[in-house]
């Protein structure tokens, strides 16, 4: 090969490499047309919402009304609320190791990550163990013989512009999870429609509509918001069993242990 031919070959190879590299370098959430939900997020508002009134109307961020229960579930809620007032309404979260279930996953005190890919979205919570997988590859829910109630249920969705819309079914509920420490629970017939979108550059808003023909007379709506925290923030380990000094006794009461494992509470 002459020097001229060699130069030509080198030039062609370089041009080919450049042509291949350019699209790859542009690859990412933006290149897919999907929104940028990168970084670390924290829920706005603290803890369980304070129920102020009955009704299923849209709630303000960090607040909400009580679910529109049917008569049977209103009684169940009131019994739970009475226990909660005595501080004896056990929260499965306190047992360490059990997922909180959906949609309570959107109401955790620690940080969140939202991983967006064309075929799937993951919601990763720092307060574990909780993880939501939302399929956006066009599949539907599994057939009935492949469904059984689980903590996170089965979520399938799609994108409407910059809004992630997903439907969650087959969620474990009353007896396994609670929605709120003030006594709110749902039945195993719960179905949740969630719409998440950026409503400001660093604000994600989730509009959640709970339908539950077993427990509710009409849909129950909740709004959750998440704020993106400083760039480069890390997410940390959260192993609830590491040093759990607040076990729950058989009556549902939360105990406090000393460093030697003995109960320090004076009240029985």
């Amino acid at each position: 090969m002459t020097t001229r031919q060699q130069r030509k070959t080198v030039f062609r190879t370089a041009a080919l490499m450049l042509a291949c590299w350019l699209p790859l370098s542009a690859w990412g959430a933006q290149a897919t047309g999907l929104p940028d939900w990168s970084g670390v997020w924290q829920r706005r508002g603290m803890g369980e919402a304070k129920a102020s009134a009955t009704g299923g109307g849209p709630a303000k961020v960090g607040e909400r009304s009580l679910p529109p229960y049917n008569a049977e579930w209103q009684k169940k809620f009131e019994a739970n609320a009475a226990l909660a007032k005595e501080d004896r309404f056990p929260d499965p979260l306190s047992f360490c190791g059990i997922p909180v279930g959906y949609p309570r996953v959107l109401n955790l005190p620690d940080s969140y990550e939202f991983v967006v890919r064309p075929e799937r979205v993951w919601i990763l919570t720092e307060n574990g163990p909780n993880l939501m997988r939302i399929y956006t590859d066009g599949r539907g829910h599994p057939p009935a013989d492949l469904l059984w109630p689980t903590y996170t249920g089965d979520s399938v969705g799609h994108w409407e512009g910059d809004t992630l819309v997903f439907d969650t079914i087959s969620i474990k509920n009353d007896g396994d999870t609670i929605f709120d420490r003030n006594g709110v629970v749902f039945s195993d017939r719960i179905q949740v429609l969630t719409r998440i979108r950026l409503t400001a550059p660093d604000t994600l808003t989730a509009d959640v509509t709970v339908t539950d023909p077993g427990a509710l007379t009409e849909p129950y709506k909740i709004v959750r918001q998440f704020k993106r925290i400083e760039a480069g923030a890390r997410v940390y380990d959260y192993a609830c069993r590491e040093n759990n000094r607040n076990p729950i006794d058989a009556s549902g009461k939360t105990l406090t242990l000393g460093t030697d494992g003995r109960v320090i509470d004076l009240a029985k």
Binding site: M46, E48, P109, Y236, Y238, T256, I264, D265, L266
Partner: protein
């Protein structure tokens, strides 16, 4: 030493902090008296930088001159680190002043609201 807060201004300030944050990550906070804030001055016996809660074991001399160990509960490391805490913030032997929501039943335990270190540094448990 252990004494109730006497300054109305300080009490209001600490109540406003507490009212904004009555919920806890891992369990009900019903055992803590949210309407009451006490001040504990003592010596750190142990600092547990652990999940689901951090704990400050602090020796406090009561009004009768007897040393008592208190178990003071705080948030998990992931939350505290974002508020400026570090695993090495407290060491055994450090003198600290704690503002605490005490246990309702009078047990020697509580949830801390704020801590002042020997060098005057003030750290909180919540940023709200």
């Amino acid at each position: 030493m252990l004494r109730p807060l006497r300054s109305a201004t300080l009490l209001l300030a600490t109540m406003s902090i507490a009212c904004a944050q009555v919920a806890s990550a891992h369990h009900s906070t019903g055992m803590f008296d949210q309407a009451k804030t006490i001040k504990l001055v003592g010596t750190v016996k142990q600092f547990q930088w652990t999940n689901p809660h951090s704990w400050i074991q602090v020796d406090v001399t009561n009004e009768a001159g007897v040393k008592e160990e208190w178990s003071i509960e705080g948030n998990s490391p992931n939350q505290l680190i974002r508020l400026g805490w570090r695993p090495g913030t407290l060491k055994a032997g450090d003198t600290v002043t704690l503002l605490v929501k005490p246990m309702r039943d009078g047990a020697k335990g509580g949830m801390f609201v704020e801590i002042t270190l020997a060098d005057g540094t003030v750290l909180k448990q919540y940023d709200r």
